[in-house]
């Protein structure tokens, strides 16, 4: 066995045991896009698949992190071990970020059964989708029963991450005017469970009604899904409605388990998504690497207009 392979085995064992420090270090290397971790990720993927991945998304300030803190509490009381991957946007100007999710989860700060990791989106170039997918590969190979992923439901990058989740909780608030925020963001259809948080606000019932109408309309567009997404009112800062939300999430999982066909569909959708994500990332890196050896022979005919770039790309794809 080579040294590298031995190190990999040690790391793999540590992760399967639930070693938090090893996990934290590996997540940093993933965020940096280190190629050297790929063999480890390959082994982790094959070893993994533990834990339920639950996505929580919605506009900034809607109360996602506060609600996640409540959910952690509920699952901890059942003895489940919980990991959280909280993704916040980076500043597009400086690349810096203030990651303020952990702040809402203080009460779990000393619990060995909880792991919280903040991740900055690092814009397009950092390959957020690939990094988040890799991070989930790590967490799913570890002994966590529930893995929560928080993203701001705005950009395509952030909502794409929700495709890793078996159940997506879409948070809305009664604030922000007449239109439901998720409609504006074009992500209304991704929820399995809808939450109207900040329901202490007087417009909460109206927002619930609008959501229910939208869901009723949307479900006709998606006959493949016979799950009727519930709409739940919560007040995350007080824990109001959390029990109902936990029940709804359980219900959604139970529904999936009762229908093996649907469960398989989710798994193959996710696998397909993951393959695409990695493929795009590999291609992106190749194109940005400055090493154009692999384009050898393709460039000249395009320069001389003997061939068009579409033909060249079609030829490349057929060789794939």
């Amino acid at each position: 066995m080579t040294n590298g392979a031995r190190d990999e085995n040690v790391t793999l064992e540590a992760l399967c045991r639930g070693d938090v420090r090893t996990c934290a270090r590996l997540l940093t290397r993933i965020e940096r896009g280190e190629e050297a971790v790929i063999p480890l990720l390959q082994a982790l993927y094959r070893a993994g698949g533990n834990g339920r991945v639950i996505g929580v998304t919605g506009p900034p300030g809607a109360g996602k992190s506060s609600l996640i803190s409540c959910l952690i509490g509920a699952w901890r009381r059942r003895g489940l071990r919980v990991a959280v991957l909280a993704i916040d946007p980076s500043s597009p100007f400086t690349g810096g970020a203030v990651l303020g999710d952990r702040l809402r989860m203080v009460e779990h700060g000393c619990d060995d059964g909880v792991f919280i990791r903040s991740m900055a989106s690092r814009g397009q170039l950092g390959g957020l989708a690939r990094a988040a997918g890799d991070a989930l590969t790590v967490l799913e190979a570890m002994p966590w029963d529930v893995i929560l992923v928080e993203t701001v439901g705005v950009g395509q990058n952030e909502t794409d991450i929700m495709r890793h989740a078996a159940v997506v909780v879409l948070l809305q608030t009664p604030l922000g005017g007449d239109e439901v925020q998720a409609v504006k963001a074009g992500i209304i259809e991704i929820g399995d469970v809808y939450v109207v948080n900040k329901s202490d606000h007087p417009a909460a019932d109206r927002t619930c009604r609008q959501l229910r109408e939208m869901i009723a309309r949307g479900s006709r567009l998606r006959p493949d899904r016979d799950w009727q997404p519930p709409v739940i009112k919560t007040q995350a800062h007080l824990g109001v409605g959390v029990a109902e939300l936990v029940d709804a999430i359980d219900g959604c999982f139970a529904h999936q388990n009762a229908d093996p066909e649907a469960a398989r569909r989710y798994m193959s959708d996710r696998a397909r998504h993951r393959i695409g994500e990695i493929l795009r990332d590999r291609l992106d890196r190749r194109l940005r690497s400055g090493d154009e050896g692999w384009l050898e022979g393709s460039i000249e005919p395009v320069v001389s207009r003997e061939k068009d770039p579409y033909t060249v790309v079609a030829e490349m794809l057929s060789r794939l």
């Binding site: 940093t28 980076s90 500043s91 400086t94 810096g96 203030v98 952990r102 702040l103 203080v106 700060g109």
Partner: protein
């Protein structure tokens, strides 16, 4: 992209210190220098900060202190050491009296920034002294007190 690219730090208050303004300003200064800041807010114990530092794999911890809870800052440094995370430097900002600042430096705090410290000097220190997350490198900083 800026010099801070890839650096990650914690900014936190410690103990019963409800003064958040300074910490928030520093968090934003660091963000604008391209640094990723895990902001923990108030009511954090040394144990919580150490756990956060390990889980988040940060390169430096910044404590904003306006409540004379210097003992807890020292506990934080000791707890980091006991958890094998002494390569994560702790810096402190706020209205810390000079003799206290000297004591903190003696106890292993990497730097103390008094009120009115320029953004540039804070950024420069953080970038120069933050641990290289995988290299485990730490250049010991000068106390600015």
């Amino acid at each position: 992209m800026s010099a801070g690219q890839g650096k990650k730090v914690i900014v936190s208050m410690i103990g019963l210190d409800g003064h958040t303004t300074g910490g928030e300003i520093v968090a934003r200064i660091l963000r604008d220098a391209g640094i990723e800041v895990v902001y923990l807010g108030c009511n954090q114990t040394p144990e919580m900060i150490v756990r956060a530092a390990i889980q988040e794999d940060v390169d430096l911890i910044g404590i904003s202190s306006h409540a004379s809870n210097y003992g807890q800052i020292v506990s934080l440094v000791e707890l980091l050491k006991r958890n094998g995370a002494e390569d994560v430097p702790v810096v402190c900002g706020g209205n810390v009296p000079k003799h206290q600042a000297r004591l903190l430096i003696e106890k292993g705090v990497a730097a103390v920034f008094p009120p009115g410290s320029g953004a540039d000097s804070i950024i420069r220190f953080v970038l120069g002294n933050a641990r290289g997350a995988t290299a485990g490198l730490c250049v010991n900083g000068e106390g600015i007190a």
